[in-house]
């Protein structure tokens, strides 16, 4: 029988190795799997490469992981925010490597990894600093940059509901990077507000089919408050 439900967030992150590449869902704090990140912090893996849209807000979540010096590199689109002080200090001190990727290319590169695409030509970034050194090509009169897939060892995502097969549905704009990250990691771990019985999710509305998910943990805690005022 397939049963991907694990009892605790600690069990959910068990086995994550030093040096892993870990995708973490969320756009700011919406969809950020805070409790899984806390468990990863307790688990102790280090020398991590983190893929996230941002580079941490305040002192919790991704920021806490950075503050504990577990992260050697971050791949993201928007590290600088009003409350990204932890990242800012590490970056200025040269203590963290940054790969800056335009947000749409970030999403598409993750999607490409999950979809078995070896690379793709994107118009985004052509002629800019972020395309320097990359292969370009003119196709039908438009200029493109060749971008490569971003794969991960683990993906930590937050969803609204799951069943024991690992099917996921999300909530509002907390969906963001979760569905594509779930496809791009060797082992996707989801924290959900509620585990429901098999068959309770509408098959027309399942966003992440269960084959993309390895472990599910229910975390009934309230959603953290959004941080207003920061840019994308």
């Amino acid at each position: 029988m397939i049963d991907k439900i694990v009892a605790t967030t600690i069990a959910a992150v068990a086995g994550i190795e030093d040096g892993s590449t870990i995708m973490i869902g969320g756009f700011g704090t919406a969809g950020m799997p805070v409790e899984l990140i806390d468990a990863l912090l307790a688990q102790g893996a280090r020398d991590l490469t983190i893929v996230n849209n941002n580079a941490g807000n305040g002192e919790t979540g991704v920021a806490a992981l950075l503050k504990a010096r577990r992260v050697k590199k971050i791949i993201c689109s928007f590290p600088r925010q009003v409350d990204s002080q932890v990242f800012d200090a590490l970056y200025r001190a040269g203590d963290i490597e940054l790969e800056l990727v335009p947000q749409g290319n970030l999403a598409e590169r993750i999607r490409a990894a999950g979809a078995g695409i070896g690379g793709f030509f994107t118009p985004t970034g052509y002629g800019t600093l972020l395309a320097e050194g990359k292969e370009t090509r003119e196709i039908d009169g438009r200029h493109y940059v060749l971008e490569s897939p971003i794969r991960a060892d683990y993906a930590l995502v937050k969803a609204e509901r799951a069943d024991r097969w690992g099917n996921l549905v999300y909530r509002k704009t907390a969906r963001n990077f979760g569905p594509v990250m779930a496809t791009a990691a060797r082992c996707t771990i989801a924290q959900v507000r509620e585990v429901v019985a098999l068959g309770a999710l509408d098959p027309e509305a399942i966003v992440t089919p269960g084959l993309f998910v390895k472990r599910v943990v229910e975390v009934a805690s309230a959603t953290p408050l959004a941080t207003p005022g920061a840019a994308a």
Binding site: F27, G28, T29, A30, G31, N53, S77, F78, P79, R80, Q81, F87, D88, Y91, R92, L98, L100, V101, P102, Q103, G104, N105, L106, A107, E108, I110, R111, T122, P123, T124, G125, Y126, G127, T128, L129, L130, H143, Y170, R171, K172, T173, A174, R175, N176, F177, G178, P179, V180, V207, T223, P224, L225, A226, T227, P228, G229, A230, A231, A232
Partner: protein, 218 residues
Amino acid sequence: MQKFTRDQMATLVANDIPDGACVNLGIGLPTLVANHLPGDREILLHSENGLLGMGPAPAPGQADPDLINAGKQPVTLLPGGAYFHHADSFAMMRGGHLDFCVLGAFQVSVRGDLANWHTGAPDAIPAVGGAMDLALGAKRVVVMMEHLTKSGESKIVERCTYPVTGLNCVDRVYTDLAVLDITPRGVEVVRMTEGMTLSELARLSGVALTLAPPPRPA
């Protein structure tokens, strides 16, 4: 020198958005446009973090941390709105499915290059977000910005001195002094503040300007 106020600029942009358009409003000044959309037009707002049909800010106390815009401000969803994931959302922009994108800028060049993501300062922490996607993100990309920097330099430039966000991507610029079309024939003035002359505007701008044919009354 008379200037358009921020709300006047937003109104000028809003009036140019046709009924039924799908629009992405960038962070900062462009956000104001939402307050000035003509009430008789149904215009759908897209936010690149995964929604189309974005509604106004929620009533006090009604904010939902799972329902935010690209500026991470709480918003609402109109009836008929939809949620989607990040790859689908940026595919909408990259694929040319939005009608309008309104962006802020540091500089716009006479050939429509846009600089709005990086000041180029050596100690700045770079951050790009969706800026480079938005620059190519709609059938029509327009910019809202002040015409001059605080020190009086033109933000309409022959060539961007800040790092560019996208090349040849801006169709129209709304400033506090004028509305300018970027065309293959050069920069054409569509509208100016009252009392402004073409020669004075060209002097302030430091680039060649012509009146757009047919000139529309200000």
